[in-house]
């Protein structure tokens, strides 16, 4: 009933009227390098020139966010503790040093004020905004930053892998991670507001990594052992840095947040923010219709269509810059010809048009067409069932049933999977689809790895191309990482490593495009489409916007600007 991507909310602040995908593609951005170029040794925060525009609003009001939570509101609090991918609560409760602008390319300062990168691309010097305080009044200083970085690096904390791994490249971080060293030499506090981070190698995704860091309060957790951070009792009354502070958790009903008057970037307009949990997706839509909630995510397909018909709400969103693909277990289907045949057998255009209308954008590469590093010149596998049959015959396909798993629980996806099953049957590939959710996901996809096909939204996220390494670098095969297809190609590894160590985006893009060329030849994953993601928001509220990039991390930025329309 509930969808796993309950927290996967993204939206684009571009003109909603131009819903046609061409108006929202980032292709215009492809030719322009982001304003942070470390090679020159200096960088300026981009926010001042490319910040979003807001309209004046009436102060006050309560905004109720409806979340199809996979658990109670208690588990929403739980995602806070697992950190980084804190979902919905990320940007209005937590504090970040910086975030991405709503175009997913430029950096926007939040709690950091300015930064520079050394000429060799290895050292970042960052200065915090003065006068920032935690919700309990304690000052926010570099002590908190130092504590947070160390916590993310240390293995006992169980922090999400990406931030940890890119921070793990800091000078001396590996020893600190294992517990053999007490400090990280590459992490240096200069004064209360300025700190330095030095990496062993130039670090391309350094800003992306830092944007994922949600600051932890040193004055509360500083003396707690790393392994105990996650279970510390202070999380029942968490303290953050964002525009809204925690008030209470009414178990299984909602979380309440109140305006934090001392929020330095700007006093919030709304008086309160509620996050209500809904176990049943149908009830959530009814609540949106009746006005019980002011915000609800509607997955592409029938839910989106229903929500579009509700008069008092409007959709906000756009390309999620996320790719949904059919991952093929290359250990079980080692013959490339079979994998090619599997892609030739599916008419992706018809499937998308029928099920999702214009809410998805077909991509012929494993990267979304909305990102600057998308490569349109890869090998193509158009719908051609005859070619598919020929390839299968050449490969002597034995026709055994494929174990076909997926984790989106909505009906439209179930229909899509059934349709794919039909397409494959028509060329002689039999499969058995089944739904895998929640706790079973890690075990089925990564640990057991006995499935043969997996439909998922993989982590090739914008705004940094290094996400490709999550899926396709051989060092990220379980148990070190989450390369779900267990794909190994030394050439791809080399390119991905090089991309990681190159700081200038203009130099990185060709590397990742080359990766796509190779991967699309090997085809460990069949690219389907890039979905657009929309939330439906009550039209009583203005300035509600999202960064349109896959992942929660940058969703709901600028929550202090939201307010009742005047």
């Amino acid at each position: 009933m509930t969808t796993p991507f309950t927290n996967r909310l993204t939206r684009r602040t571009f003109l909603r009227a131009t819903a046609a995908s061409s108006g929202l593609l980032l292709l215009p951005a492809a030719g322009r390098a982001p304003s942070v170029t470390a090679a020159q040794g200096a960088a300026t925060p981009a926010g001042a020139t490319t910040g979003p525009t807001f309209v004046p609003v009436t102060p006050g009001g309560t905004f109720n966010i409806g979340l199809a939570a996979s658990g109670s509101s208690d588990s929403l609090l739980n995602t806070i503790k697992i950190a980084s991918d804190a979902g919905v609560l990320g940007n209005y409760f937590y504090g970040r040093l910086l975030t991405y602008d709503l175009n997913a390319v430029d950096l926007y300062p939040v709690l950091a004020e300015r930064w520079t990168v050394s000429a060799d691309g290895k050292t970042l010097t960052m200065t915090l905004r003065p006068g920032v305080t935690w919700h309990d009044g304690a000052p926010f200083t570099t002590q908190d930053v130092e504590f947070t970085v160390k916590a993310y690096v240390h293995q006992d904390t169980a922090a999400p892998i990406f931030a940890a791994s890119t921070l793990g490249g800091l000078v001396g971080a590996a020893a600190f991670r294992d517990g053999t060293a007490d400090t990280i030499p590459g992490l240096r506090v200069v004064d209360d507001l300025t700190f330095e981070l030095e990496w062993e190698q130039p670090n391309g995704p350094m800003f992306f990594a830092i944007s994922l860091l949600l600051m932890l309060p040193q004055h509360i957790l500083g003396n707690v052992a790393y392994k105990d951070i996650i279970t510390h009792p202070s999380w029942t009354q968490p303290v953050g840095l964002g525009p809204f502070k925690f008030v209470q958790n009414v178990s299984d009903q909602y979380l309440e947040f109140a305006r934090f008057d001392d929020y330095v970037p700007g006093r919030p307009n709304l008086e309160r923010l509620l996050a209500s949990s809904y176990r049943d997706a149908e009830t959530l839509l009814l609540a949106l219709e009746q006005g019980e909630v002011d915000w609800a995510f509607a997955p592409p397909g029938t839910a989106y269509e229903r929500a579009s018909q509700i008069p008092a709400v409007k959709p906000i969103g756009g390309p999620a810059q996320l790719m949904q693909t059919l991952v093929i277990n290359v250990d079980k289907i080692p013959d490339k010809r079979v994998r090619h045949a599997m892609m030739h057998a599916i008419d992706r255009e018809s499937l998308a048009a029928t099920l999702f209308g214009d809410q998805v954008t077909i991509s012929n590469s494993i990267v979304s067409p909305d990102v600057p590093w998308h490569n349109p010149d890869v090998a193509l596998y158009p719908y051609d069932p005859e070619r598919a049959s020929t390839l299968l015959q050449e490969a002597n396909w034995d026709g055994h049933d494929l174990d076909f798993i997926y984790y989106y629980a909505d009906q439209t996806t179930a229909n899509m999977v059934a349709a794919v099953q039909q397409y494959w049957e028509a060329v002689g590939i039999r499969s058995k689809p089944r739904l895998v959710t929640g706790a079973a996901v890690i075990q089925e996809i990564y640990e057991d790895h006995t499935y043969e096909v997996l439909f998922w939204g993989g982590p090739t996220f914008a705004p940094d191309p290094s996400g490709l390494a999550d899926s396709f670098h051989s060092r990220n095969i379980f148990p070190t990482g989450y390369n779900a297809p267990r794909y190994q190609n030394p050439e791809v590894d080399k390119l991905l490593d090089q991309g990681q160590m190159t700081v200038d985006m203009a130099e990185r893009i060709p590397l990742y495009q080359q990766v796509q060329t190779i991967v699309m030849e090997d085809l460990p994953a069949i690219p389907m489409w890039s979905p657009k993601r929309f939330v439906f928001v009550s039209d009583r509220f203005c300035n509600v916007s999202w960064g349109a990039f896959g992942g929660y991390q940058h969703a709901m930025a600028f929550a202090e600007q939201w307010g009742l329309c005047s």
């Binding site: 990406f162 009814l286 990482g481």
Partner: protein
């Protein structure tokens, strides 16, 4: 009778242990564990490393073999400690305790309403049996029993809440508002109606057949022959005796009072035991789940015992050895 009750209570203990063993094996065999559920709250998101997952598992004792974990849990329970919920370390007794009131009001009111509707209608049905009224009530009851709960719930929400705006869609209170009795009662209306309609439908049929059986007994014919007024015949001699099997049926419905109603609570976002059940299963939170199973098992055992005892009290012909 006292020794009977005592023996029954003693047998309950190994029964409950058996139930917990079966539950524990089942939840342990399900793919994934509590840590997997926690870190994969969002499958599209940034994953947590395998090393970190192992560290978390060790932290929560989830890396131990199944029998060991069970015995650790059993020993803890024997000492009176039901453990803590894995996700937030809150005491299970607290977690369950804060749901009890919500569950009791939902189940209590719906049972009450079910009786107020179902019993009189069942009596009427019996008294007018094989007439058009009886057939009409039979059809209504059949619809009530056959209609899926979630269908009726969603339908009622759509009509009464979305279209007419008479009642709230979900929850136990208006989000963000202070407590108010009226608000609380308004939120109770829809879930109680849906739940009680289903219970009432069943009760109508039970009461009808029980009444019919009683009304044809010799002593009722005698009472009528003696010239007693109809309300005495039906009310005193008929109904009171027909009530005996009804009481046992009601007593067997009591475990639902602590078990909650999973479907209704899910649809209406009612923070009761049912919702806790399903959340515990999904998050593989075995301390909470085991305690819930113990609680429900105990409730079933006790209510069965109660039903048997009540029957013996009500019917002097029954004696327990």
């Amino acid at each position: 009778m006292g020794s009977f009750a005592l023996r029954r209570l003693l047998i309950t203990i190994p029964t409950l242990v058996g139930i917990t063993i079966v539950t524990f094996i089942t939840i342990s065999l399900a793919p994934g564990d509590a840590v997997a559920a926690m870190v994969m709250a969002n499958p599209e998101g940034r994953p947590v490393g395998a090393r970190e997952i192992q560290a978390l598992r060790a932290r929560y004792g989830l890396d131990k073999p199944m029998p060991v974990r069970y015995l650790i849990w059993l020993r803890s329970v024997a000492r009176g400690n039901l453990g803590v919920r894995i996700s937030d370390h809150r005491a299970v007794t607290d977690v369950i305790g804060e749901r009890m009131v919500a569950t009791a009001e939902l189940m209590g009111f719906s049972l009450l309403l079910a009786c107020l509707i179902g019993i009189p209608l069942g009596v009427v049905s019996a008294l007018t049996h094989h007439t058009r009224l009886d057939y009409a009530l039979a059809v209504v009851a059949l619809i009530g029993i056959s209609l899926p709960e979630f269908f009726a719930a969603i339908g009622l929400i759509y009509v009464l809440s979305v279209q007419l705006d008479w009642l709230p869609v979900s929850g136990r209170l208006t989000r963000g508002a202070d407590f108010s009795v009226i608000d609380h009662l308004r939120h109770l209306v829809l879930p109680v109606i849906v739940l009680s309609l289903f219970q009432a439908a069943g009760l109508v049929r039970y009461v009808r057949s029980s009444m019919l059986e009683t009304l044809y007994q010799d002593y009722v014919t005698t009472a009528r022959a003696k010239g007693l007024p109809p309300w005495v015949v039906v009310g005193v001699h008929g109904f009171r005796n027909a009530l005996l099997p009804i009481i046992t049926v009601l007593a067997l419905l009591l475990p639902a009072m602590v078990g909650g109603a999973v479907i209704i609570e899910t649809i209406f976002q009612w923070p009761g035991i049912g919702l806790l059940y399903i959340d515990s299963v999904n998050s593989r939170d075995y301390p909470t789940l085991m305690s819930l199973v113990l609680l429900t098992g105990l409730a079933v055992a006790l209510s069965n015992l109660l039903a048997d005892l009540l029957y013996a009290v009500a019917d002097p012909r029954i004696r327990y050895a």
